[in-house]
């Protein structure tokens, strides 16, 4: 195991074991925590997440100020709902405020005949030249499960995917990054993306 400690923010009830194993495979020392001291001392932060936006923000509420402060100093990666929470707001079950690192709104996929919601399964990403996607070619398959997508500007988009609409499947601003897909469920390509994140911490 590597030396970089990644605080995996524990604010939910879902499967955190896979993300922890993914980070270990990427060479980091993950720690599932909601302890402010550990969050402060960690080298990087990971915001996991499945479930509903408002529920996620409510559970994260006691840590929001700390996460914002720490994200200015060290890399933060949001996954799935954790990525959506990086935006300003979400339309999931009413309008809810997000962390606001990335401008834009999280919106429900529009209905289209023959297209299922949620998008569930493997789709391709077109990454931009960003250190998170070092060695990840255009057209790499990764695993998605989501009904809502990030509607943001090209400036904050670091990977694009097409499902019903073209949308940002990864966002980034400075130290703060988020991926809509699950790198911990995306085989070797996913582990490489986590390795790139760990590289940015070291």
């Amino acid at each position: 195991m590597g030396t970089s400690e990644v605080a995996v923010l524990d604010y939910g009830l879902g499967n955190l074991r896979s993300v922890v194993r993914g980070l270990e495979a990427a060479g980091a020392r993950p720690k599932i925590t909601n302890d402010p001291e550990i969050i402060q001392s960690a080298d990087g932060l990971l915001l996991p997440g499945v479930g509903a936006f408002a529920e996620g923000m409510n559970k994260l509420a006691p840590l929001i100020d700390l996460v914002k402060k720490e994200a200015a100093k060290k890399p933060l990666l949001g996954i799935c709902l954790g990525m959506q929470m990086l935006l300003e707001e979400s339309e999931e079950h009413g309008l809810h405020k997000g962390l606001g690192f990335v401008p834009g709104t999280v919106r429900l996929f529009p209905k289209k005949p023959g297209m299922k919601i949620p998008q569930m399964g493997w789709n391709t990403i077109s990454p931009s030249a960003h250190p998170l996607f070092e060695g990840i070619p255009d057209g790499t398959y990764v695993y998605f499960v989501h009904s809502y997508y990030a509607d943001t500007t090209p400036e904050f988009t670091i990977a694009k995917t097409d499902y019903i609409v073209p949308y940002a499947s990864a966002v980034g601003v400075g130290n703060v990054m988020g991926v809509q897909f699950h790198p911990e469920k995306s085989g070797d390509a996913g582990i490489l993306i986590l390795k790139n994140f760990v590289q940015m911490i070291e």
């Binding site: 009830l13 499967n15 896979s18 194993r21 399964g121 789709n123 911990e184 469920k185």
Partner: protein, 268 residues
Amino acid sequence: MGLTRRIIPCLDLKAGRVVKGVNFEGLRDAGDPVELASRYNEQGADEVVFLDIAASKDNRDTMIDVIGRAADQLFLPLTVGGGIRTVKDIQEILRAGADKVSLNTSAVKTPDVINEVSRLFGNQCIVLAEDVRRNYEMRDGVTPIHLADGRVCWYEVVIYGGSQRTGIDAVSWAQNGVERGAGEILLTSMETDGVKTGFDLEITAAISENVDVPVIASGGVGTLEHFYDGFVKGKADACLAASVFHYGEMTIRSVKEYLASRGVLVRL
């Protein structure tokens, strides 16, 4: 480019070992689940399903151990089903490393579990597993399905491994489950399960057209063409199979190569 159709191997487990029944009877042992899942992963499986077919309290700890070992070794989506009843069961399984749970009999018996679990953990982790059987006695309130042989029937939800009829219309139950928060439907037709004559295409298409969420076709695959028909005629988003993969009749890669050659988008 775009969302691919999924091929999902299903591992039927009993006491932590893989078995596969023909029409859910006559079980045979086919090995260690984690080793088998790992082989499927190498072959290009898009997900893996573990189904505990002899679910009991004693089995639960064994199952949790299998899920944990699989989650530690495989970086792909994992669904677990069989005998799951309570929110606590589901939380344990998710914490052990599963991404989705499939609910079958318990969803029929206590449908509010779907609402509760989707609220707590999200719709994406609830798969509504429906076992269905044809019923030729038409009545009001059922969805008529026109079969290829010209007959008309409706499909009835069956529970306890197919041994008990419920009187519930399969299409309506799928819609009800989705409204309650199921994120996916796993449809197994008892008419075709285990007999390798192909998926039950009419009911698969009817359900796929009547719900917004993805539908997994299950039961009956025996040839490469059956997979193609499941996606194209059955309008399934994913196809699930067990014995054709376990006994090496075909590999997941060979299925995907065949589908790609016929224009179905798959991840190779």
